[in-house]
């Protein structure tokens, strides 16, 4: 049923990853991104990769679900591989095979292949780690909330942080309603003989007018009624507003942050002393 759509990839649960303060998770995810880019040697990248593949275990996310989010990356990876293979080799690379015709120079080198593989791994690790730390284990609403609180200092320079966060919240709330409505309006117009699926592009776009206009009218009506209801509940933006959920960092949050920072430090040091293995 269309009602059952879940927004984002949130996977409810009570694991360690679920329990970390969402603000801290955003910071940890940032550290992780830096870490992935600092892992410029084969060993450090391998270590970061192992760490990343441990994350779904810690978050108790089924591995199959996680793999689904990487699958769309296959085309990007393929293109990267081809680009690196054909980009030619640098001087001093161990060339395995090459072919030259006027300006076109194609060369396979040990270093080229290693770079391509490492880059692919890096992309996978990047997507996997951030999605497990953020989207799989944090509800969209908690994320919006965390962003609002992290950006709160910007309020002082008159950036309407609260308003943006409220917009995201309301959008998240109304997306399922509007999807359901679209479905209903399309069925209703189909019952009056509207045909959305045949004809050329112009005809098909025109066929959508009877869907878009009612949908637009309905969105305006929702907005109007919601605004009235919010006014009745004394809403006036962020001024004077308290929050039920006071986010406070716990010892676990600090520990996780410290551990991630330590790992990042270790990766940077290790990459510096990698010697001949620093391909990237």
């Amino acid at each position: 049923m269309i009602k059952d759509i879940t927004l984002g990839q949130y996977f409810p649960g009570g694991s360690l990853l679920h329990r970390i303060d969402p603000r801290m998770k955003i910071l940890v995810a940032m550290l992780f991104i830096i870490m992935v880019f600092s892992a410029t040697t084969v060993y450090t990248l391998a270590a970061v990769t192992v760490l990343t593949f441990l994350l779904p275990l810690i978050g108790r996310i089924p591995f199959k679900t996680v793999m689904k989010s990487i699958l769309p990356l296959k085309w990007i990876i393929l293109i990267m591989l081809i680009l690196y293979l054909f980009a030619g080799a640098k001087e001093g690379d161990r060339i395995l095979w090459q072919w030259q015709w006027h300006f076109i120079h194609i060369a396979f080198s040990v270093e080229g292949i290693a770079k391509a593989v490492c880059l692919s791994v890096r992309i996978v690790v990047l997507v996997l780690s951030t999605s497990v730390i953020l989207s799989y284990t944090t509800s969209p609403i908690a994320l919006a909330d965390a962003i609002e609180r992290l950006l709160a200092p910007l309020n002082r320079i008159k950036v309407p942080v609260h308003d943006f966060a409220m917009m995201i919240t309301i959008a998240l709330r109304f997306i399922p309603i509007l999807i359901e409505e679209t479905d209903k309006i399309m069925s209703a117009q189909a019952s009056r003989g509207a045909d959305f699926y045949t004809g050329n592009l112009v005809k098909r776009s025109k066929a959508l007018i009877p869907v878009f206009i009612p949908l637009f009218v309905s969105s305006v009506r929702h907005a109007d009624e919601l605004a009235t209801a919010m006014e009745c509940r004394c809403y006036r933006g962020g001024r004077g507003r308290t929050r039920m959920k006071k986010l406070t960092y716990t010892a676990v949050d600090y520990a996780v942050f410290a551990l991630t920072a330590l790992l990042l430090f270790a990766v940077i040091i290790a990459a510096d002393h990698a010697g001949g293995f620093a391909y990237l």
Partner: protein, 281 residues
Amino acid sequence: MSFIEIKNLSHAYNEDDHREETIHDLSLSIERGEFVALLGHNGSGKSTLAKLITGILDIQSGQIIADGTDVSKISGEEELFALRRKIGMVFQNPDDQLVATVVEEDIAFGPENLGVEPQEIRRRVRNSLRAVGMLKYARHAPHKLSGGQKQRIAIAGVLAMMPECIIFDEATAMLDPKGRADVMSLISRIHKAGITVVHITHNMNEALAADRVVVINEGRIFLEGTPSYVFSHVDELHSVGLEAPPLTELLHALAAAGYSVPAFSSGVSDTVDVVESLFGK
């Protein structure tokens, strides 16, 4: 002094609003702790009245005094908030009242706006959810609940603001019989807890539960009194496109056929007695 005093209130929408609802020189007072049903056909002006009371619409002429405050003279935000905290509103479409994507966060929305302490908000959220019988849905997403459940969440959201009065603006109109019955029994409980209830509806059976029924037609008070008084005026109700509850309609038809029966039916067994007595002792 009454809790809400409406004096010579008139209101008309501008051309652009495309709404024909108007209010003409309407005066009405609602006592503290009373359960009043505002009855009228679609477009009779009932909802406009509710929006004027809570200061959503500006008063054009006349006066509304709510708990001692002259609504038309309210200028500051603080005063307006004090009024809206005191008089909560529940609307027709349950979807258009819920703001958050988690039930408990939605209920917290009102108290949060009022700047209530987090600890206290938590307590109120729990109490409100318990009051509407939805405690176990605290962590659910509203869009997966039924219409009746969503409406109960909306009511809990208003209760969490500790109102003295709640106006239900056709709050049962979009619900199925089960949801309707749940919300109606909740409204009765809210009334029994001492909160003033104004229930706007065009459903006769729902109006029966009220202390007083006010029939509004073309923006004027057409008929006013206890349910038994109002519903025994069946011809008058028909003249403004309303009907009495079926058993009262039956008694009215019997009376019109020349039988001497009371004008109002208070229930099935009562009416059976009445009709049986027509067959002699």
